[in-house]
């Protein structure tokens, strides 16, 4: 194969090399699709999208349950030269409409169940692009059916796959924003391709590998899940949203589907270790367990490794803006007296790192500072947010731009970096980025809320719990259930505070700002 420069070439190369090999399995629908069929489905969608006006440099939305239809849709969009924008199919429709309007998608692929509500919300926002509506999403047939239906009534001419430049945007991933609105991280073809190349070098995937796809497609773990197996002609096994949260089902799926490379957040692996009855299954084919997105408490990791000792375990670290940027292989045996989480490790070979102080100067070895990353994997910024983009980087005299991760680390001899905490108010909840400010912005919309402050509390069992301190309007009595329901209609469930506490007034500092330190001490 000549050197691929964009993601969609990875699929077409394997479709030529091993057309009959299974590319994607979807246990939820019982479906499977070969490389040749996936190529064909994505080509058909490309033609339709081009007919609808999608061009290189545009964006197109994917509002689908994780499915073969969703994978085919992603490749279909990439083949037009546009970037795909995956939204969380389980998040409130209003939030997804905001995302799709924010980056002005030229078209979106959506399931019938959400289509009317989405159309309404997009109309309200003054941006209603053409929607390709699928009856559902599962084994790939809903997409085929929708395309055939459209083709019969409004034929699209065949078009060519667009092979753009390395700098073209490949996808936008929206993450929690501190101002109350999600922000779109722009990732280019080169960002993705350089990361995928690093995965090839580090994990040496094979065509007989079977990768899990546990993470939702709007989450950056999905980049490894989708493109690494496709590049190597391996098989991608989709883990459905419902199954993904239920350790008993997950444990049996991993064994039945003979997963060889597993990738998920530590939260899920902790659930599996505690509730999955792992010892009763045969995981002999599992050769690697990768985890990322949050700190893995050592007692849960130990419990997991005791039950499934033979695979190699890797801690992968990196924000959406860089994808994985450091990694650490967990030793074969965890020392019995180890209590601290493992390091985030050494910098990936395609990137460079440095640790700086508040003024942007390199710290001395062994001192704590902010980790900054530079290289082909690093985002060029946030969609439509120039100031935020400018502030995201440290510019050095040699002309390099270093992405400031906001994560505080210490370099330790031999082990690479050790994670120490955050510089700001972003936390990781079950692997998701959560800006505590976005939760506050949501609660401030409630008519009974006068003042609110949200903090994160470390929790040995769950990693982290989010607590909201609420001061109600005078004479108002607020119900925790009602507040949780209010939040669940506006922000994703993982962002809804776990605990609420009411007070007539919140503590303030001498400058009349909410005293978060005092709240933490109260919690």
């Amino acid at each position: 194969m000549s050197q691929a420069t964009v993601l969609c070439q990875l699929l077409d190369a394997q479709a030529a090399q091993r057309p009959q090999h299974v590319a994607v399995e979807d246990p939820a629908s019982g479906g499977a699709i070969s490389y040749a069929e996936l190529k064909r489905a994505s080509d058909r969608l490309r033609d339709r999208l081009v007919h609808l006006g999608v061009r290189r440099g545009d964006r197109a939305g994917v509002y689908l349950t994780k499915s073969i239809d969703a994978v085919a849709s992603i490749f279909g969009i990439l083949k037009t030269g546009a970037a795909y924008v995956p939204v969380d199919p389980h998040a409130p429709v209003s939030r997804n409409a905001f995302v799709l309007a924010n980056c002005a998608v030229k078209a979106a692929i959506v399931e019938q169940a959400q289509a009317d509500a989405l159309r309404q919300e997009l109309t309200n926002l003054g941006h209603l692009p053409p929607l390709l509506v699928l009856d559902g999403a599962g084994d790939g047939r809903p997409l085929e059916a929708a395309l055939s239906r459209e083709q019969a009534s409004d034929p699209a001419a065949p078009s060519d796959t667009v092979i753009g430049d390395a700098d073209d945007l490949a996808y936008l991933l929206y993450t929690s924003g501190s101002t109350g609105k999600p922000k779109g991280v722009m990732l280019s073809q080169q960002n993705a391709m350089s990361f995928v190349a690093w995965c090839s070098e580090t994990f040496e995937p094979r065509s007989d590998d079977r990768f899990s796809a546990h993470a939702p497609f709007h989450f950056d773990l999905s980049i490894l899940d989708i493109y690494v197996p496709i590049k190597h002609g391996a098989t991608l096994v989709l883990v459905g949203h419902e199954t993904g949260k239920e350790p008993a089902k997950l444990a049996s799926l991993m064994a039945e589907r003979r997963i060889t490379v597993w990738y998920s957040t530590p939260s899920i692996l902790s659930l599996l270790a505690h509730y999955g009855s792992l010892a009763s299954y045969d995981y002999s084919r599992l050769r690697m367990v990768l985890f990322a997105g949050e700190v893995f408490p050592i007692k849960h990791l130990r419990l997991l490794k005791e039950q499934v000792p033979h695979p190699r375990y890797f801690n992968l670290y990196g924000p959406t803006e860089t994808n994985v940027c450091t990694f650490y292989e967990i030793p074969k045996t965890i020392a019995p007296d180890r209590a601290d989480p493992y390091p985030i490790g050494k910098t990936c070979s395609h990137l460079e790192s440095r640790v700086v102080d508040g003024a942007g100067n390199d710290v001395r070895p062994g001192e704590e500072g902010e980790l900054c990353i530079c290289g082909p994997g690093v985002t060029s910024g946030y969609w439509g947010l120039d100031e935020l983009t400018r502030n995201a980087y440290l510019d050095t005299a040699d002309g390099k731009q270093w992405y400031r991760t906001g994560d505080l680390v210490v370099a330790e001899a031999g082990d690479g970096y050790v994670y120490r905490g955050r510089r700001d108010r972003m936390v990781k909840k079950r692997g998701y980025r959560v800006e505590l400010g976005e939760i506050e912005a949501c609660l401030y919309q409630h008519p009974g809320v006068r003042q609110v402050a949200v903090i994160a509390i470390d929790d040995e069992d769950e990693g982290l719990r989010v607590k909201a301190f609420v001061s109600p309007n005078e004479g108002q009595k607020l119900s925790i259930i009602a507040l949780k329901r209010f939040c669940s209609e506006r922000i994703p469930l993982y962002m809804v505070p776990d605990v609420f506490s009411f007070a007539p007034a919140l503590p303030v500092t001498s400058t009349d700002k909410i005293d978060y330190q005092a709240l933490k001490e109260m919690a």
Binding site: L271, E462, I481, C487, S501
Partner: protein
Amino acid sequence: MSSDEAIAAAVKQFILDEFLPGEDPSELTADTPLITSAVLDSVGTLKLVAFLEERFNIGLAAHEADVEYLNTIADIVKLVESKQQAG
């Protein structure tokens, strides 16, 4: 108290103690959505299942640890009763 009322009362107390400390008990009714309005997250749902199995001496299948069976106290009572009858 009839048996379904006793089950409902025990489940309600468990949910209030475990997931809603500080809540006015009258706000939690038989029809309050638990999973879809974020009272129970996935770990909370597993804790509830463990509580039901131990308290009522029943066994739940993996597919029953789900929004379809556990989203309200009324649903939970129905599930527990069906298990007790089957057992």
